[in-house]
């Protein structure tokens, strides 16, 4: 196995269970162990990328063209390094934040390992996602991120707000992931493979490709919280701050943009999808930027800012071409560093002052100088001031927009000016101005990650060459051929420099004139937030709830109705199938030969026992009658010469009868006496016999038409018999169960174990309620 993608991948995937084990052993070990595992993953990824990447390709089910195919290419390296690097810093931060958070909410410290487990699970899924080269693997990891995010956002499970928000994030990103799956199946159907490299080679423009890329793009846009599916992100701020810092800057929302990047060569073939990205990008940039201007809670500003910033990236992908792709990749890198640090700042300030609203804060620069400095650098990075890495992200952004046309330059300028203004409002609202809330306690571990994130932002501003290879390689994967990315300061009147200067000038103007627009902006924003797409979500959720309750009431309330729906539906479907596909041969009637007499007697016994079920009113006799039916059939199998089936039938029948008798004790007493009167309305009197008759006739017709048909000339059974000896089996039935059709058996025993869980919880629930 090649070392390069295997070692980082295994580290990333094993981190979560290892942290859980460490936490189960010593709860306070969970944090340091998790942080070191994330750091190890980061180091392994860096080492792997430094040595040129690599790929791992294992057969999974080659007959279906499924392979476990992972590769560490430029795109994977960019996102995986961000996920593990930012993840490591967030874990260091959590080591200090989480105990205080749990203490504050009056919860046990034993809940901490759960947090680290899900954070690392998310990191592992993210690393797996970006390396996966197979559509189904991508889907698998994509859904693991959604599940992990559900538990992380809903970590404060006692609060209703956290639960609703977690469910909202899960539903919006989870339902849209089904669209991705449909798109993946369309691609696999059209081009005959689930493998990404094969698809990229074979895909040609056409309506199939457009449909598939549109579906995939919608899933990706929902994950990246782009308008109009953005509403889950501001809600998800109910999560603990480290979760927001991680999921909503470098990981979960980045996954959406990553997916667009992974499929970019296909998207580029479809102008419709490309235009959709352009439109959604501009819409999200404008909407997110505008709403961020008037939010009062720190984390809400950052949430809307994230929507806007990923809008930039989607906009760049919509423009397409060499420069825009480089800009997109560099933007993701710079933004993730700045935004995660700013989220951590918000958390550190809230932890120190117990305040969340900007209005209650202010003037903290003296008391928290290091935090003010670190977050100042990060804010400057996001606002694209010179000497930070952010300057170059906007330079590339302007360059791409300028190449595309003046309308896009205007959109870009709008976005950057809004960013500058709301980020100034955020930072100055906390650290400058009148003194707000008092600082109660400070923690070094809460400030350190912010400074550690500010460091690369500053270094990137002075020496961008350190980061450009990573972004360049990622852009190269999207573009389809390797690209060289160079950025540097140019002291000349280039369009990019002029646009940057206009951003600063317009931004400064808006900041100075804040009191003129602040009121109207807030008034305009209120109805957008209140009547936005979130209302559609709530409306459709309520409607689905009603629908499910109605179906439930129809199905569950009355056991007879449930049986009736199953039996009648079965009879109808069977009758329909026999009408549409009439049996090939004529129906045969023949009297059994004398040698078949024992079998006929056994069948007669079953028939008699089955008829006995009708008049019997006593549950105990009923169970015995039913098991007699089973024993009779087991005897028939024995006469037919299938000892394996007969053995299993006898054993199952024995144990089932005994368990059924045992279970009868659990039923309420009056059930057995039939003392509760049946609804014997005349109109209903014939209903049940008729339904039973219909179901029985359907089954009878099916059995007869199947058993009465001529055996096929060539059957899989012959093949099994031939192969059994080579497969070291004397008994072909066992060989079928454990070898030839082993996957079926695997599925069945998994169901058995699941059933065990269900029965356990049901019976123990009953006990704890009695």
């Amino acid at each position: 196995m090649p070392l390069i993608p295997t070692v980082p991948l295994l580290l990333a995937l094993l981190a979560a269970p290892l942290a859980l084990l460490a936490g189960a052993w010593r709860p306070h070990w969970a944090a340091p162990v998790s942080a070191s595992l994330a750091a190890a993953t980061f180091a392994a990824l860096l080492w792997g990328w430094w040595n040129g990447g690599g790929s791992l390709d294992l057969a999974w089910a080659p007959a279906w063209g499924l392979r476990l195919h992972f590769s560490l290419d430029g795109l994977a390296a960019l996102y995986a390094l961000l996920a593990s690097g930012v993840g490591c810093l967030v874990l260091i931060y959590s080591a200090s934040y989480l105990p205080a958070h749990l203490h504050h909410d009056g919860r046990s410290q034993k809940e901490a390992p759960r947090f680290f487990f899900f954070l690392l699970l998310f990191m592992g899924a993210m690393v797996g996602l970006v390396m996966a080269q197979d559509l189904l693997l991508i889907f698998l990891f994509w859904d693991i991120t959604a599940i992990a995010s559900y538990y992380l956002i809903g970590y404060d499970r006692e609060t209703a707000d956290a639960r609703t928000s977690a469910l909202m994030a899960l539903l919006v990103t989870g339902i849209s992931s089904v669209l991705f799956l449909i798109g993946a199946f369309i691609l696999a159907e059209a081009y005959g493979s689930f493998s990404m490299p094969v698809l990229l080679e074979q895909a040609t423009a056409g309506p199939m490709l457009t449909t598939a890329t549109l579906l995939i793009a919608i899933a990706a846009l929902a994950k990246s919280a782009q308008a109009p599916l953005h509403f889950w992100l501001p809600r998800a701020m109910a999560a603990p701050t480290p979760v927001s810092a991680y999921l909503h800057s470098a990981a979960m929302v980045a996954a959406g943009v990553f997916l667009l990047g992974r499929f970019y060569p296909l998207i580029a073939l479809s102008p419709v999808t490309q235009n959709l990205l352009l439109a959604i990008g501009i819409l999200s940039m404008a909407l997110g930027g505008f709403l961020a201007l008037s939010r009062g809670v720190m984390k809400q500003i950052l949430a809307y800012s994230t929507i806007a910033q990923y809008g930039y990236v989607v906009f760049m992908l919509g423009i397409g071409g060499k420069v825009a792709l480089q800009a997109a990749a560099f933007y993701v890198l710079a933004h993730a560093l700045c935004k995660s640090g700013l989220f951590l700042t918000a958390g550190a300030v809230t932890e120190a002052t117990h305040k969340k609203e900007l209005a209650e804060l202010g003037g903290l620069r003296g008391e928290m100088p290091w935090l003010a400095f670190g977050s100042g650098v990060l804010a400057a990075g996001l606002a694209a001031l010179p000497l930070t890495i952010g300057f170059f992200k906007d330079e590339l952004f302007f360059k791409a927009a300028y190449e595309h046309g003046p309308r896009y330059v205007a959109a870009a300028l709008l976005g950057t000016v809004l960013t500058l203004v709301y980020i100034w409002r955020f930072w100055s609202g906390i650290f400058l101005g009148k003194k707000g809330a008092d600082v109660e306690h400070r923690s070094l571990l809460l400030t350190l990650p912010v400074l550690l994130l500010a460091l690369p932002v500053l270094i990137g501003g002075l020496w961008p060459g350190l980061f450009t290879p990573l972004a360049g390689a990622a852009a190269g994967v999207m573009y389809g051929e390797s690209l060289d990315l160079h950025v540097a300061y140019h002291f000349a009147a280039t369009p990019e420099n002029l646009l940057a200067l206009s951003t600063y000038a317009l931004g400064a103007l808006l900041i100075v004139g804040q009191r003129f627009w602040a009121g109207p902006a807030a008034r305009l924003a209120a109805p957008i937030v209140r009547y936005g797409p979130e209302q559609w979500y709530h409306g459709s959720l309520a409607w689905l709830n009603r629908l499910s309750q109605r179906a439930n009431a129809f199905d569950i309330r009355d056991l007879r109705w449930r049986m009736a729906t199953i039996l009648v539906a079965m009879a109808l479907l069977l009758g329909l199938s026999m009408l549409l596909v009439p049996p090939a041969q004529t129906w045969q009637f023949a009297l059994p030969a004398l040698s078949d007499l024992p079998m006929v007697l056994a069948l007669g016994l079953s028939l008699f026992a089955a008829l006995l079920v009708l008049p019997v009113r006593n549950m105990f006799t009923l169970v015995l009658a039913l098991s007699t039916v089973g024993y009779g059939l087991a005897a028939v199998y024995a006469f037919l010469g299938s000892p394996d089936v007969a053995l299993v039938a006898v054993l199952v029948e024995t144990v089932l009868t005994l368990l059924m008798l045992g279970a009868l004790v659990l039923f309420p007493d009056d059930l057995f006496s039939f003392s509760s009167p049946l609804p014997n309305k005349p109109s209903l009197r014939w209903r049940n016999p008729l339904i039973a008759l219909a179901g029985g006739l359907g089954m009878f017709g099916l059995s007869w038409s199947l058993l009465g048909s001529e055996p096929a000339a060539e059957s899989v059974a012959d093949r099994y018999l031939e192969l059994a000896e080579a497969a070291h089996a004397g008994d072909v039935v066992t060989a079928i169960l454990a070898d030839f059709r082993g996957l079926d058996t695997m599925g069945e025993i998994s169901v058995i174990v699941l059933a065990l869980l269900a029965v356990t919880s049901l019976l123990q629930w009953r006990r704890s309620n009695s």
């Binding site: 294992l58 006593n618 057995f672 089996a729 454990a738 025993i749 356990t760």
Partner: protein, 163 residues
């Protein structure tokens, strides 16, 4: 009646277990497989339950670990079927490969398919035994006193709720 069932349970325990072991070991060469063997073992447990009551049987049998047995059975089956991925072959490619040499211990052949069958056996035993103990626990609970197991057992089997 109770005395007879107890004597029978004592006499039959060993033969039942031997039969089940035979079914399991011979499964790949002759009639029977892990599933049947598992069900046979669980009938032996069931007989103990009926003869001695839940409380007593829970002590003499590793009933407590039945769920763990089911889960480890699933793990064994997963290992037996997915080991081939590590060798770069499709899953459920058993070792030794078809037509290759197999180590034989009597009729037992050392083969990963047999290991898989063992996993199925553990799942079935774990499932059945735990299910029985759950039903037993739920139906006569812990509040009915120590030695009432036998009476309650009989009432289950004989169906004293007949009216």
């Amino acid at each position: 009646m109770t005395a007879m069932i107890r004597t029978m349970a004592q006499f039959l325990l060993l033969p039942i277990l031997i039969v089940s072991a035979a079914i399991l070991v011979k499964g790949y060469a002759d009639t029977g497989d892990g599933f049947s063997a598992g069900v046979v073992v669980s009938t032996a447990v069931l007989l103990q339950y009926m003869a001695y009551g839940y409380k007593h049987s829970a002590r003499i049998w590793p009933v407590k670990y039945a769920p763990q047995l089911a889960f480890s059975g699933l793990l064994i089956a997963l290992l037996a079927s997915f080991q081939s991925l590590l060798r770069g072959e499709a899953f459920f490619s058993h070792v030794p490969a078809p037509d290759a040499e197999v180590i034989k211990l009597g009729s037992l052949e050392l083969h990963t398919a047999v290991l898989f069958d063992l996993g199925v056996f553990c799942v079935v035993v774990g499932f059945m035994v735990h299910l029985m103990s759950l039903i037993a626990q739920a139906s006569w609970g812990e509040d009915r006193g120590q030695d009432s197991g036998t009476r309650d057992q009989e009432s289950v089997v004989m169906g004293d709720r007949e009216r």
